[in-house]
């Protein structure tokens, strides 16, 4: 029982990052109807930018954070303008192939940035150590990461709910044509979505790089977050957050109960089995819109 509670709490902490990643997918999917597989590789780029800032250039942490966010934003603009804009209105296959290829393109850039090695931050930029609450043993990295993720998600939700720009984006979520007719610049909204999403993914990559080491293997986290997006429903922020936390818990429970039984990287495989199960049982997820199509 104690072990289970431990796993659940730790899972919640690591699930924060999955929730953040899932939100970064949903931001783009809701407004552009394109599923951005490439966000998995933006993680790598974000982590490397932070690493370059902190280790080779020796900048303070807050500046590194800002530069990472800016790097993510520039990447978002470039990707949207160069690769996604020409494909607006193409059949569904084209954006899927382009985002998949972008994933590999960014991965290649990641190899060049990191010279093919796994880099570490040496000393973590978030406080290390752990709190002991009863039998719980909470690593500070995870908790601070979770808090940062929550702040970002809450800020994003406030942006969507309270600001005028956010209102425009929500209109685009509903219908592109209606939004265009209302005088909203839909292309600009697409670009903003990519910028927001890439910033989020870069920050998540930075946090994950702090825990797992900065390397090409980071993009697996992004692929696992796809399971979370699907579990929550492709169109739902609430779903993405809930399912991200659920995937985190699932992973920790896997380490606790399933990993001893099976060989190899179960933590990576179980979310995909979970994804398949969702697809078989409830393909539109917890909060997703069930599409009814007519001729």
């Amino acid at each position: 029982m104690e072990e289970t509670i431990k796993s659940v709490v730790l899972g919640l902490c690591s699930g924060g990052i999955y929730a953040l990643l899932a939100v970064s997918y949903v931001v783009i999917y809701k407004s552009t109807r394109v599923f951005p597989f490439s966000q998995a590789a933006v993680l790598i780029i974000g982590a490397y930018i932070m690493w370059y800032c902190l280790i080779p250039w020796n900048l303070p942490i807050w500046l590194g954070f800002i530069l990472t966010c800016m790097g993510g934003a520039i990447l978002g603009i470039l990707v949207e303008r160069a690769f996604m804009r020409p494909l607006v209105g193409q059949p569904i296959l084209a954006p899927i192939v382009v985002t998949l290829c972008l994933m590999l393109l960014l991965r290649g850039i990641g190899i060049l940035l990191g010279k093919g090695d796994i880099q570490g931050f040496g000393e973590s930029f978030l406080p290390v150590g752990a709190w002991k609450i009863g039998f719980l043993h909470l690593p500070k990295i995870q908790v601070y990461g979770f808090i940062l993720c929550s702040i970002l998600i809450v800020a994003l939700m406030l942006f969507y709910e309270k600001t005028r720009a956010g209102l425009g984006m929500r209109v685009v979520h509903e219908d592109h044509v209606v939004a265009q007719n209302l005088g909203i610049n839909v292309k600009r909204i697409f670009q903003n979505s990519w910028i927001i999403s890439c910033i989020i993914a870069a920050v998540a990559g930075m946090l994950l790089g702090n825990i797992q080491g900065v390397g090409l293997a980071l993009d697996v986290n992004g692929l696992i977050a796809i399971a979370a997006v699907l579990f929550g429903g492709l169109e739902s922020f609430t779903g993405a957050i809930v399912a991200g936390l659920a995937i985190g818990i699932l992973q920790m429970l896997t380490i606790q109960y399933i990993a001893p039984l099976l060989p190899g990287e179960t933590t990576m495989m179980i979310p995909f089995v979970f994804l398949l199960l969702i697809l078989f049982i409830k393909p539109y997820g917890l909060f997703g819109l069930v599409k009814i199509e007519r001729l």
Partner: protein, 355 residues
Amino acid sequence: MSININRPCGTFDRNYFQAKEIYRTPLRKVLLAILIAGIYLLPFFTGDYGISILTVICAFSVGMLGLQIITGYCGQISIGHAAFMGIGMYTVAILQKHFGLSFWACLPMAGLVPMCIGMVFGIPALRMKGLYLAFATLAAHFVIVYMISNWRSVTNGTDGMWMKRPGPFLGIDFTADRNYYLLVLTVTILMIYLATNLARTKMGRAFVAVRDNDIAAEVMGINIAMTKIWAFGIGCFFAGISGALGGAYYEYVNVEWFGLDDSIWYLGFLVVGGFGSIFGAIAGATVWKVMDEFSTLVTPLAETFLGGAAFYASAAFSLIFYSLIIIVFLVFEPRGIAHRWEIVKRSYRLHPFPY
């Protein structure tokens, strides 16, 4: 309804017999015969290096044809195609190692096993389409690779397995590279024949109908779910055969040969080749493998420019270069090389007059 979406404008079918024809003019029949004879004679003029490239192109063409059936004909997206190719490879290796079967007995099994597994992973197609199916195949890719790399007692884990080439048949020794190439080429031509004719059967037309508008297809009485599942099954059959041919060429299989990037390259180079035509699939596979050779040729260059320990440069080069090529094709020529080829043929046909 058009099966060949790459046909130039102004080329009409005036009756059903014309629509079903493979050779639209007698000249094309002669040209095809000359082409096939030429490909058969090619290894006698190229060196060993040329034979190795040709063999790999042939093997991958079969796999690409499989993806053409899934994606080009039926419009379903598969991001796990390389994994099904891997199942084909491992089926042959496992049957040879544990059951001592010959390659000839393994070859049909190498198609049927991925076919069954592919149909299972195609079941989500019962309820959804497009993006969701892409997720299902993505998950299938990871689950399959996990199974292969961790079921050590059967698959030997990440160490890979040895494979044997087929034994002598009618006195031909297939351990020689040139003879093995001729075998691969024969199987490839057989598979091309199958794929060409599949497009002309009831099932092939059902695939195209589902691709073009699945709701309309359902109204016409096509069982969409079964059609999609069959498309997956047949596509994975081709992938498995391709894996068996390729694996037996190297006489070795390793799970690292079919990563997620290979699955994505399959889809991407199908775009480069062109959707919905046999020629497109073969062109895609050819471009892919020629690029592979090119990037191995470039590696020493990259090492001299970037310093001695730049082994990573070739990996980065191929990732960046390939994905840029695919994206450029998608943006500027989404119908691929097949469409360009049609344009070349059209300008030849209309020669004195510009179009």
